[in-house]
Amino acid sequence: MRCVIGIDLGSTTTKAVILDEDGAIIGRGITNSRSNYELASAVARSEAFADARFRLVAREVRGELDQALLGRLERAFRLEQTLGQLGRLHELIEEEIERRQYGELGPTVREAVGSIVKAIELEERAHFGSENPPLRSSFFRDAVGSAYNRYAEEISDPKGVTFDLLLGLYDKCIIRVENEPMDLGFQELIDNALDRIENPTLMVDAVRAAASTELDEACMVGTGYGRATLPFPKEAIRSEILCHGLGAHAMFPGTRTVLDIGGQDTKAIQVDDSGIVTSFQMNDRCAAGCGRYLGYIADEMNMGLHELGPMAEKSTRCVKINSTCTVFAGAELRERLSLGERREDILAGLHRAIILRAMSLLARSGGIDDEFTFTGGVANNEAAVHALRDLVDENYGQKTLNISPDSIYTGALGGALFAHRLAS
């Protein structure tokens, strides 16, 4: 099967989308961008191919029981990936302990790390063993990082193996785990995953069929902030503004206005009836009011990024916040807290402030036309969506607001569609 790929190298995450010859999506993958776009691109790609293979497997299995089995297989595969990385993390920490020469303390440090890794492993097995694992970040760094933190805090000893020491080892080694290529693709790990679910014949046959399907990559287009750093030929690089426009058009063909709030920029885009960009505006060099701003707020509040929206939605009285300056975010927040404002009300105000800034860019780009599509990571945040709905209503009247649950892939999809055009 001939296929094409679009890769969106964002400042926070890197996404890949694979299309078949007919332009239909057959696989998607995502990873955190780390500081290495080349590797992030390879990982997102490998993840998208794994996704594509699983979809091929899914075509072979039909019954309800089989679907459940497929779910188990996928989770077993994710567990294999996680354990692979965890094992590597453990190895690297061991080496680091060796290198740092803790002297008498050495064996105790080693033992402490060993127990943390063991505990994480148990937790991961339980997580992926569950039929309905709770939602959490799908990136190894986030999932394992928070568990490591927790266990390190539990077992650390201010007079012996301190919390800082344990965390220092983790910080040093997680970067290496993330920045060295590992074999975590479908072909490498699927057999182990099958072992975990005891190789039911039907699944083994489906997997064999899927694994042997040729996925012949005809063209790849890169977009996003990291695009210039990759060895793509010039014609295979597209601006993310064009990709978001085309991707949004593909998801919602009635789209005329697109708002994309990403990690470090916000774009307001107008497209014509075939998804071609006619006008756009984006924030200047200051990333005020972008996704990264919410990241800082989450850090300041000691919360996960995904927890901000739900908490803001509990607000009963939105606090008016003027500044969306990322640098001032912490100060603004502490000031409001010290004035006795409730966290949920402050958060509601922060979300509204972000959207207000986006509204200004939208106005500059030519306003909001029906239909209006919201993309980028921030589109997954219900408080941001809520604020956007209110402000669009107030300023432009009732408009159809489209948000796809897969909106984070919009840019990569647009890139893949450009690749599809180049290949055909």
Binding site: Y225, A228, R238, S239, E240, I241, L242, D265, D272, S274, I276, V277, T278, S279, F280, Q281, M282, D284, R285, R364, G366
Partner: protein, 426 residues
Amino acid sequence: MAETSAAKDRSMILQKQMIANHYRQLENAPETGDPVVYTFVPGNMNELVRSFGALPVLPEINALQSGMRQKSGDYIAEAERAGHSEDVCTYVKCDIGMIKAGNISPTGTRLPKPDLLLLSYTGCYTFMKWFELLREEYDCPTVFFHVPYQGDGTIEAEHRDYMMRQLREEVIPALEKATGRRYDEDRLREYLTLSAQAEDDLVAVLQSAKNRPSPIDAYFGAVYYVGPIFSSFRGTPEGVEYYRALREEVEARVAAGQGPMTPVGQLDDEKYRLVVEGPPNWTSFREFWSMFASEGANVVASTYTKVGGTYDFGFRHDPEDPLGTLADYCGGCYTNINLPGRVDMLVDYIREYEADGFVINSVKSCNSFSAGQLMMLREVEKRAGVPGAFIESDLVDPRYFSAANIKNRLESYLQMIDARRMGASA
């Protein structure tokens, strides 16, 4: 720049010599006794100043030259330490910082104190504040020449009379007092005659961009071309010589079918013809230009190259009407033209120069230029039927130049033009 002809080199060499000589004359002014008049580029009455035997100093030119030579960052920091806020025009802060740091010109020579600050007010409010600061600094006489804004799009007869009266009653007496010399109208006429000659050649150079490929970049390249006429050399024999040489070189390029020289080489394959509104960024000037040139984008007309005088719609300095022509000149500078007038100009340029689109470089610290630019963007798009791009940078504050952001916007914009072309041909 290997392919440049010897003729091309001549204008560049001439310009370099002219500037160096001028700064040297300024450095020696305390010894030679030449009077020194500070004045601004828009509305500079170089012929009048020269007719009194005075040497002009143009603070914006010093600021932009400092920016190009990577000195402005330190000067701005110096001015901020002296209490000037981050939002103040960065030309002003660069100039103030340069004075505080010893008043050494961008070429390394010492700059003399002014004998007179001649403030032509041509639409930029900041100029008044700027000279207030310099008056404070130098404790020297100041004369204010008020040019009425072209609010209705024209210079009315009473505006013209008002300006001529000011020249007679305020400006000329102030120059006489500062220089100790009498006003000599015949001498002024001589300078004005030479101005008109150079202006003819400049217009021919700028309008050469109507060719395909254009032999010049009418923004990045043309800021060099307008340098002499916008600063100290309008009305001088050196100015005439420079523009004659430049015109010959450009005509030779047209005959040879050559595109402009850019930082990434000669641009013969002109993929996009653009019109640009707004001043350039000076601290990353070459990088900024390269972003255009490396994509095959060439600028065929710009409004910034009209801040020191608008000649391509027919105006020339007229020796027969010395004071009237100075009034007309000042009233016609781009900064003094209202927003509908600026829109008309951009739309005309897009049509006459067959441009694929236009780019607005919005300058963070310049309200005089930036106010109204978004309205202009929409209006020009609507009337000319081509897409516009909006990028943001600054004049001489290196902190306000984000290469990644600007490159991203520019590339997106050019790809948007591509996509529209493909859509149109499908």
